[in-house]
């Protein structure tokens, strides 16, 4: 298949790459750019581990073509840390024990960020509904909820 030259804006940096049409954004991130924070746990849209933010919205990068992710602002988990400072959600996840194996964590944090960006003080049910597409097998979601509620309260 013929490759196409594309330009992606990821974490405020521009990347120019040559990709085949079927290449997903997830594959580009993980295999071409070394941004392995976004993960594949299912590849078919049920687990949410591949979640990245595109123009602020949580999107499944495993079902997004890289050639169709151009001219958008893409944020991955690696982009959340600014000048070495952890994002409040990252701090809260660590502090409240919301991380065990850590595989679902990047997607979970990004989705949580998009929830809080939309509504800074969501209810418990709003958070849990928002996270329904991010599966976690380790934590039972209890401490994930606690961490997000704490971050939304501005607790540090």
């Amino acid at each position: 298949m013929k490759k196409e030259l594309i330009e992606l804006n990821i974490n405020d940096e521009s990347h120019v790459l040559a990709v085949e049409p079927q290449k997903t954004l997830l594959e580009v991130l993980r295999e071409d750019l070394g941004l392995t924070g976004a993960k594949e746990a299912c590849g078919t849209g049920e687990c949410g581990a591949c979640t990245v933010l595109i123009d602020g919205k949580p999107i499944l990068s495993c079902l997004t073509l890289a050639i169709e992710a151009q001219e958008k602002e893409i944020i991955t988990i690696e982009g959340l840390t600014r000048a070495g400072q952890l994002h409040p959600l990252q701090k809260a996840f660590i502090q409240y024990g919301a991380i065990q194996c850590g595989y679902c964590t990047p997607g979970m944090i990004l989705n949580a960020k998009s929830i809080l960006d939309e509504n800074p003080k969501p209810s418990r049910d709003e958070i849990l509904k928002g996270l329904e597409g991010n599966l976690c097998r380790c934590t039972g979601y209890n401490k994930i909820l606690e961490a997000i509620m704490a971050a939304s309260m501005g607790e540090d």
Binding site: P58, I59, L60, L65, G133
Partner: protein, 287 residues
């Protein structure tokens, strides 16, 4: 899991889409949100040579209201856009609620209502509310167009009447009459997310003067090879004052009309239960 290789087109007009469809026919698939297409391709259920993206065309994500003609939804309108759209909330609140149920937060940002219908899953959540709202689909192709009621769209599991050279350009939902209201009740197959076990939509029009049911529409999904209206049950309600006994009878008749293949006893029972609940809730809304 890799998507198998394909040739990618990104036309800038609907005419160009139609030309490509006319050229490639069954070798081509339309790409809207990708949440169904790429999953099927990854699982090797389909293997299109050509993928035609709609993303290069303007205004396909339109959600437009016309006071005469009702609501028009374009092929790139996502579930998320519908959930929050003020007109959809106001005029078709249970459709907005249904769109909020579909998939997950991420899927709702990507997936389109038109795409959901074209996928034609027997358990499509979108289908039942749209059936009871008597939605119509407009297809176009290189040499013309046609509009059909959604009821005639599904012919089997994942099968529609859409020809390989046609594309759905919009969903048309007629303006609901006064004294009407609808509701969608559902159960998940398991846990609180994912495929629907049974979905039941009800749309009623009640005359406020005598509380007689003018119109009754009942749509069910995940209980037959395609989402369907249960017309016999509708006839039970129409022209009557709706009360407990009538509701129970209609729900039972609706349940009898279903043909579930897997977990049939439970699906039939739940059809009955959910239709009852949907009727009651629709009535609450109308009051």
């Amino acid at each position: 899991m890799r998507i198998p290789k394909f040739e990618y087109f990104r036309p800038s007009s609907i005419e160009d889409v139609c030309s490509l469809l006319y050229k490639y026919k069954t070798e081509a698939k339309i790409l809207a949100g990708g949440t169904d297409l790429f999953v099927k391709m990854k699982k090797k259920e389909i293997a299109p040579k050509v993928v035609i993206s709609l993303k290069g065309i303007q205004k396909l994500d339109r959600i437009e209201w016309d006071d005469r003609e009702g609501l028009k939804i374009g092929p790139l309108a996502t579930h998320d856009a519908l959930v929050n759209h003020p007109i959809v909330r106001e005029k078709f609140d249970f459709l907005a609620d249904t769109c909020f149920k579909i998939g997950t937060r991420q899927v709702r940002n990507m997936g389109t209502l038109v795409g959901n219908l074209c996928n034609a899953s027997p358990s499509s959540d979108a289908a039942a509310p749209l059936l009871v709202l008597e939605a119509r689909l407009k297809f176009v192709h290189l040499y013309g167009e046609r509009t059909i009621p959604l009821e005639k769209f599904f012919v089997g599991p994942f099968q529609t009447v859409l020809e390989p050279h046609e594309i759905v350009l919009e969903i048309q939902i007629p303006k609901p009459g006064p004294g009407s209201g609808g509701c969608y009740q559902y159960l998940h197959k398991a846990s609180s997310v994912g495929e629907t076990l049974v979905g039941a939509a009800v749309h009623l029009t009640i005359d406020p003067r005598d509380s007689i049911c003018q119109e009754a529409k009942i749509g069910l999904s995940s209980i037959a090879p395609t989402p369907m209206r249960t017309k016999a049950a509708e006839r039970i309600l129409k022209g009557k004052r709706i009360e407990e006994k009538i509701i129970r009878k209609a729900a039972q008749v609706a349940s009898d009309e279903t043909q579930p293949r897997s977990r049939p006893w439970y699906r039939r029972e739940m059809s009955r239960v959910l239709v009852e609940r949907a009727i009651l809730q629709a009535m609450e809304k109308i009051r």
